[in-house]
Amino acid sequence: MSVEPRRATVLVVDDEVRILSAVQRSLRREGYEILIAETPAEALGILAEREVDLIVSDQKMPGMSGLEFLARAIRMRPQAARLLITGWTEEVPREEMEALGIRTLLPKPWDDGALKQAVREALGR
């Protein structure tokens, strides 16, 4: 951890600020740089400016769903890994998810260990 050449950057998107706070809390000691956005629009703004290694997005958000947001994000940062969190897993169309190369779907509430594990795997570590 101390000899990491560059810290991985994780962008977390959720309209629920408490979720953002909890995810940050979980990943604090993982050594990532964590960016947060409360709306997909804000997240797209960040993506326009920053290189990001992993995008963790909520599915249900006002104005735009997580999948719609990720579909746009993929065009801006195709190399960024993608991870979806949702409270209603049945609601997410699987084909669409797989088409976007999202392999992991985390349910809400999530298991803290499972989140850390999923993030590590998505970042290829």
Partner: protein, 681 residues
């Protein structure tokens, strides 16, 4: 005719020349003058005048002077058959004409001699007495003949078989009805035993024979024996003894039809009674004072009364906990108000509540005066239970609709609470590590060397720095606060859901529709907040007596519909829809309007949307019961539910609830007792 007038009328017929002549005949009229107290003596001179007078008034005697010769013969001849007696007077008794007069019907002859004045009155009186006797006898005979004819006519005309029997029981005569009724010829009845003429079955029971025998024995009294005989044809029989002769009058009165009618009436009465008694509905009849005059078995069930104990009781006495107005019959009795399937809840003697449907109508006498009321009470508890089940299912279905939104609402706080708990556990582990170091340091201070104390202290400082304890403690508090706030949010959602899925109490309660609408909207909000703007335009509205949970169900159905309409219109574009909630007081009631700018309803569907099971949604999304359930709930409240819609632009559902929603249960502000449970809504 029958009066025995003291007046004696005599006609003296004599030649004109006899008047004033010296012989005794000239004084004939005078001789007769003292026969009676009142005398009418007319003197005539020719047959024509004499006969005219005799025909004109009842005449007791004609005294004919033989001197009238041929005219006298005409008088005799004319009166011979039926006229008054004619006494001939003559001064020539040897005359051949006198013999002829006797042959012609003269009653007597008096010769005009020395004792003419003495003899003539004697002869005249005798003739008058005899004549009067004859006349009277003739009159009596005539009356008897008349009576006989009348009797015959009656017996002939009477529509009942009548026979006269001899003492031996043989038929002497019978009337035409007898012949007609028993199919015998009138000419052939005489001399035959009655038994051979009437149908055998009339003799089967033996009653007829007994009646005849007993009447024959009853020595001439006026006793009438009667009885009923026959099977297929029934006859009332009366047998009467006819005077001393021993004959018997037998009158047979055909009562077959009467008996059949009586039987049909009895059958019909029994049938009606059966129907009424076995009706599932409780039927009672009360008089003007409300006293029960009739109650069927079902009524005893509904009233929880012992069989046969309701009659005579006051209706109100059976429901001490229910005001007379709520029984609905009261206004029928006082004002003649009719009710049809009005719903109310009554409190029975044992304190149990019973929802009932009441139909009642005034009972009037022939003059149209109200004399009471007929009421049918229907036990609605089963129906209510079914309605409640349907409503509950429907509610569950709409909860399913909500589940996605609600799950999201719950899962968000659950998500961060859960994550925070994990983190706080880790923090606690860190804190414990620091604590362990603190304990070790304390031990060193108590008994260790200075070097050891120094080393321990350094280790602790390193650990605190390494774990960033200052941040940790601050973040621990923050995580705790956020988690508490999250759990509070979950508690609210669950509370809302619980209040939505609750049953109504059995009775209507006074409820604030703004509150009902708003709490429902807050549940629905979870589902729709990402795609809908909710605009609330609530006015102050009076409280309405209603079933609040049922109305919340209606509001939820309307909100879900509005949301789905918006989803259909905007799901692709991601635009935000709008739902407007309005309440207002209007026309003696409260209106609640739910307006959306969704997809709208196609004109051909507008008339069907309140039909049960009509749905335009995919299977699994709509049950097709939402709006029809809503409609029937609103109807149950005496309100209306109307829709206006423009395809592609949106729909507006307007619900109207009259303030006197419980009109059929009496005035809204009347039953204050019913308001007791309002606090629970």
């Amino acid at each position: 005719m029958s009066q025995s007038a003291p007046l004696v009328r005599i006609i003296v017929a004599q030649p004109r020349h006899r008047l004033g002549s010296p012989g005794p005949l000239g004084g004939t009229a005078r001789v007769l003058e003292h026969l009676g107290r009142e005398m009418d003596i007319a003197i005539v001179h020719d047959a024509e005048t004499c006969l005219a007078r005799a025909a004109g008034a009842p005449t007791d005697l004609v005294v004919l002077d033989a001197g009238l010769e041929a005219e006298g013969d005409r008088i005799l001849e004319a009166l011979r058959a039926s006229g008054p007696p004619v006494v001939v007077v003559t001064d020539r008794p040897e005359d051949e004409r006198i013999h002829a007069a006797f042959r012609n019907g003269a009653a007597d002859c008096v010769a005009a001699g020395q004792d003419y004045a003495r003899v003539l009155p004697i002869v005249a009186l005798e003739q008058i007495r005899r004549w009067r006797e004859t006349v009277e006898r003739g009159q009596v005979e005539q009356r008897l003949r008349d009576l006989e004819r009348l009797g015959d006519a009656i017996v002939e005309a009477i529509p009942a078989p009548i026979a006269v029997l001899s003492a031996e029981g043989r038929v002497v005569s019978a009337n035409p009805e007898f012949a007609r009724a028993f199919g015998v010829s009138l000419d052939a009845v005489a001399g035959k035993p009655l038994e051979h003429l009437v149908p055998e079955e009339l003799y089967e029971s033996g009653v007829l024979r007994l009646l005849i025998a007993s009447a024959a024995r009853a020595g001439g009294g006026n006793g009438v024996d009667r009885g009923t005989v026959g099977r297929t044809r029934r006859f009332d029989v009366r047998v009467r003894r006819l005077g001393e002769g021993g004959g018997l009058l037998v009158v047979l009165w055909d009562v077959t039809e009467r008996d059949q009618l009586a039987k049909r009436l009895a059958d019909l009465t029994r049938y009606n009674e059966n129907v009424i008694q076995n009706l599932n509905s409780a039927l009672i009849v009360v008089d003007r004072a409300g006293a029960i005059t009739f109650a069927n078995q079902a009524a005893e069930g509904v009233f929880a009364a012992e069989p046969g104990t309701l009659r005579g009781q006051l209706l109100w006495d059976w429901f001490p906990g229910t005001s007379p107005e709520k029984l609905l019959v009261a206004r029928t009795l006082t004002e003649g108000v009719r009710h049809r399937n009005a719903e109310t809840v009554i409190t029975r003697r044992d304190g149990s509540l019973l929802p009932i449907g009441v139909s009642c109508a005034p009972l009037t006498d022939a003059a149209g005066e109200r004399i009471g009321a007929v009421a049918i009470f229907e036990d609605l508890s089963e129906l209510k239970e079914l309605q409640r089940a349907v409503l509950q299912n429907e509610k569950m279905a709409s909860i399913g609709q909500l589940a996605a939104g609600v799950a999201h609402e719950i899962n968000n706080p659950m998500g961060f609470i859960h994550a925070n708990l994990c983190q706080m556990t880790e923090y606690l582990t860190d804190v414990r590590r620091v604590w362990d170091e603190v304990v070790r340091l304390q031990e060193s201070i108590a008994g260790g060397s200075l070097g050891e104390i120094r080393r321990q202290s350094l280790g602790l400082s390193q650990l605190v720095r390494q774990l960033d304890v200052e941040y940790l403690v601050g973040d621990f508090a923050k995580a705790l606060r956020e988690s508490q706030e999250g759990s509070e949010r979950i508690r609210h959602i669950v509370q809302d859901l619980r209040s939505f899925s609750r049953h109504d109490p059995g009775e209507r309660t006074l409820a604030d529709l703004n509150e009902c609408l708003d709490s429902t909207a807050s549940i629905a909000w979870a589902m729709m907040k990402h795609s809908v703007v909710l605009r609330k335009e609530y006015r102050d509205v009076p409280r309405v007596r209603c079933y609040p949970m049922q109305l919340k169900q209606v509001f939820m159905n309307l909100l879900v519909n509005a949301y789905q309409a918006i989803q259909e219109r905007f799901a692709q574009s991601g635009e935000i829809g709008e739902i407007r909630l309005q309440t207002a007081e209007r026309h003696g009631g409260v209106t609640v309007t739910v307006t959306d700018n969704g997809i709208g309803i196609r004109p051909e569907h507008v008339n069907r949307i309140f039909d049960p099971f009509f749905t335009t949604k995919e299977v699994g999304i709509g049950t097709g019961l939402g709006l029809s359930t809503s409609f029937s709930i609103v109807q149950r409240h005496g309100g209306t539910l109307k829709v206006e819609s423009k395809p592609g632009e949106g729909s507006s559902f307007e619900l109207f609830l009259p303030l006197a929603a419980g009109d059929e249960t009496g005035p809204a502000d009347g039953g204050t007792s019913a308001a007791g449970g309002a606090g629970r809504a």
